[in-house]
Structure formats: structure tokens, C-alpha cells
């Protein structure tokens, strides 16, 4: 908690929602700001998640699997199944591993939401000496936009790769309403809206859900500050919300992965 400031509801929330920032390469300006907390947490989580899967998978045997291998296999087969139902190409080259990456990474980043905010703030302050540190990378819109835009560019890349540049432009002009030249502008406009809305909805859905969850935790935390009754209710509400959040966290990671797979598969198919 804010030890050096007066503790008010707004300062409490502000404390929890402020990033640890640095400027990149001595440049000034809003764009050259880097959210160190987001970046470090997400990279640690990515290395932890994918690294531990890699450690298990490295020794994978085709015979009787160990419990850990069986768990990883369950996860991977689950994702592979989902991808298989959506994407009809050789999914093992790129799409399925990408889906795994997204699922594991986003799930871990979302799961940070369940960590008790004030205890984590105390640890950051007293163990690492960091006053501002946002725990959940997916409550940073930069993270969700980075993922969604990567998928967006992959979408364009695969569209051009599969259909050719001409084929892609033709599709932009001639679908969905028809190839009549009068309709080209309309088609283009329609496709433009579709292409813009995809990464926007993709990233903001994840961001919104997790951010809202974080805010609810903050509000519950604030209630706990009002006295004994608030603390007791806060405990139960916080526990309930955390349990419910297990579902949201997993669901949002799954939705984000599925949408990525769907967008990439749509880029592979012609209308």
C-alpha cells in the first residue's frame, strides 16, 4: 500500500494501476515509454510456461508417459483438436504451435489476476523495492494489442501467401457483395471495417475482461479497508470472485486462442 502517501480510495487504485515505466534509448515522448512491469512479468511467465513444457517434452517417450508428460499431452491434444476443427491445412507447421503459445502464455498472464493484489504489492515493495508494479500483463492494453496485431499481420501474411497479392486484392474488392465494379468501393469499405474490427475486438475483449476483473478485486480490497464487517464480506467476496475468475481467466485465454486460429484459418480460405 501507499506508505508515503495518504491512503485514499483514488490513491489506492492509482497505486495499483500505475506502471513502472522507463524511456527507451533516451528518447522523450509518450510512445517511447516502456512498461517494464508488463514486459518483465510477461516474459518471465512465457519462459516459465513454455520452458517447463519444453523441459517435459524434451524427454517425451512414445511409450507409457509420465504424469507430467500426460498432462502436457492432454493440453496439447486439446488445443490440437480445437485447431483441427477450425483449420484445414497442415496445422503442425505453424498454426497449432502458435495456438499453444497463445493459450499457455495468455492463460498464465491472466492467472496473475488471481494473485492477491495487496500482498503482491507488499512483496514488490519490500522484497524488490519497487513501488509501482502491475502484476497482470493482460491488463495492459499494449500486451493485448501486441498479440492481436501480430495475429492481424499474420492474417495479412497468410492471405497474400495463400492467394497471392493479386488474389488478396481481388478478394478485398470483389467480396462479399460481388465483382461488379460499382460495388468495389462498397466491398473495400466493408472489408476495411472487418479488418479493423478484428484486432480491435480481439484485443479489447481480453483486455476488458481481465481489466474489469482487476478493478473488481481493487473495489473488494477497498471495501475491506472500511472495517471489520467490510473485511469479512471482502474476504468472502474476494474468494468468490477469485474462484469465478478461474473460469474467466481460462475462458478468455481459450477465446483469444480460438479467435486467433479462426482469423488465421479465414486468411487461408477464399470466400
Amino acid at each position: 500500500m501507499a506508505a508515503d502517501k495518504e491512503l485514499t480510495p483514488s490513491s489506492y487504485i492509482e497505486h495499483h494501476l500505475t506502471y513502472l515505466t522507463t524511456q527507451v534509448g533516451g528518447n522523450e515522448g509518450a510512445f517511447w515509454t516502456l512498461h517494464v512491469d508488463t514486459l518483465v512479468t510477461s516474459i518471465i511467465l512465457g519462459i516459465f510456461g513454455l520452458g517447463s513444457i519444453w523441459l517435459i517434452v524434451r524427454k517425451a517417450t512414445p511409450g507409457v508417459p509420465s504424469k507430467r508428460q500426460a498432462f502436457v499431452e492432454l493440453t496439447i491434444e486439446f488445443i490440437d483438436n480445437e485447431v483441427k476443427n477450425t483449420f484445414h491445412g497442415n496445422r503442425h507447421v505453424f498454426v497449432a504451435p502458435t495456438a499453444l503459445t497463445i493459450f499457455v502464455w495468455v492463460l498464465l498472464m491472466n492467472t496473475m489476476d488471481i494473485l492477491p493484489i495487496d500482498i503482491m504489492a507488499w512483496i514488490y515493495k519490500h522484497v524488490f523495492g519497487l513501488y509501482y508494479w502491475k502484476t497482470v500483463p493482460t491488463t495492459d492494453v499494449n500486451t493485448t494489442f501486441a498479440l492481436a496485431l501480430s495475429i492481424f499481420f499474420l492474417m495479412i501474411f497468410f492471405s497474400i501467401k495463400v492467394k497471392g497479392l493479386g488474389g488478396w486484392i481481388r478478394e478485398l474488392c470483389c467480396t462479399p457483395f460481388g465483382s461488379n465494379p460499382l460495388l468495389w468501393i462498397l466491398n473495400l469499405l466493408f472489408n476495411f471495417i472487418e479488418y479493423v474490427s478484428k484486432p480491435l475486438s480481439h484485443s479489447l475483449r481480453l483486455f476488458g475482461n481481465i481489466y474489469a476483473g482487476e478493478i473488481i478485486f481493487l473495489l473488494i480490497g477497498m471495501w475491506a479497508a472500511t472495517g471489520i464487517a467490510g473485511t469479512i464480506f471482502g474476504v468472502f467476496l474476494g474468494a468468490g470472485w477469485a474462484i469465478f475468475h478461474i473460469l474467466i481467466v481460462t475462458l478468455q485465454a481459450f477465446i483469444f486462442m480460438m479467435l486467433s486460429v479462426v482469423y488465421i484459418s479465414m486468411a487461408h480460405e477464399s470466400h
Binding site: A30, L39, G46, T98, L100, V141
Partner: protein, 157 residues
């Protein structure tokens, strides 16, 4: 809600993680899973084959059993037939033997009868000759009537 350089850094991290997964995480597990699936499929196929073979073998064994039973009953039947034949043959041969013995005995008896008759005739002839010679002693000269005597003797035989 400020978009800044974090976005680019995160996108970079994301692409590195994708590359890592594509290269190091996905292939070994996929190959392990596929190999296991193949092993399981092979095992199932082998099991199916074994079951099929078992079925065939049991089928064959009942067939063999049936054949054997039939053969056994045939053999028994033949043996019974043969036994009755042997008995029949034995009866027949015994009868024949009896007949033969009977016939031999009859022939012997006839023979005896015949030789007895012969001996009797000879005796009768001698007696007759002796009687006749006694009667005719004076009138019959043995030397003169030798051929006559011989013809009588011949007739009496």
C-alpha cells in the same frame, strides 16, 4: 490506456515465443504422440488378429473332434462287422470241416464195406470153387479145366 513502445516489445516477445514453440516444443511431443498412436493401433490390430485366429482354431478343433468321433464310430462299426464275419466264417468252416470228416468217414465205411464184400465174395468164390471141385473132383481135372475154373473165379469176383 496509452499505446507505447511496450507494444512492440511484447510483439517481439510473442514472436520469439511462437518461434520457440514451433521449433522446440511442438515437434517432439507430436512425434511421441503419433508414435504412441501407431503402437496402440498396431496392438489393437494384433489383438484383433489374435481373436480371429483363436476363433478359427476353435472352429478347426470342433471340426477335428467331429471327424475323429465319426472315424471312431466307423472303426467300431467295422470291427463289429468284422467280428460277426469272423464268427460266421468260423461257423462255416466248422460245418465244412464236419461235413468233410463225415464224408471221409462215410467213404471209409464204404471202403470197408466194399473190401468186406470183396473178401466175402472171394471167400464165397473159393468156397464155391472148393465145393464145386469137391463135387466135381473126379470129373474136373484142374489141369484140363484150368481156364474154366479161372473164368468162374473171374465171374465171382
Amino acid at each position: 490506456m496509452d499505446i507505447n513502445f511496450t507494444l512492440i516489445a511484447q510483439a517481439l516477445a510473442f514472436s520469439i515465443f511462437i518461434w520457440f514453440t514451433v521449433k522446440y516444443v511442438w515437434p517432439p511431443l507430436l512425434s511421441a504422440i503419433e508414435e504412441r498412436q501407431k503402437t496402440i493401433a498396431d496392438g489393437l490390430a494384433a489383438g484383433e488378429r489374435g481373436r480371429h485366429e483363436l476363433e478359427l482354431a476353435s472352429h478347426r478343433s470342433t471340426e477335428v473332434l467331429k471327424d475323429t468321433k465319426q472315424q471312431a464310430s466307423e472303426i467300431i462299426q467295422q470291427a463289429e462287422k468284422r467280428a460277426s464275419e469272423i464268427v460266421e466264417e468260423a461257423k462255416n468252416s466248422a460245418k465244412e470241416e464236419g461235413d468233410r470228416i463225415l464224408a471221409g468217414a462215410r467213404a471209409e465205411i464204404e471202403n470197408e464195406v466194399f473190401s468186406a464184400k470183396e473178401a466175402l465174395r472171394q471167400n464165397v468164390a473159393q468156397l464155391a470153387v472148393a465145393g464145386a471141385s469137391k463135387i466135381l473132383r473126379r470129373e474136373v481135372d484142374v489141369n484140363v479145366h484150368a481156364d474154366l475154373l479161372a473164368s468162374i473165379e473171374e465171374e465171382l469176383k
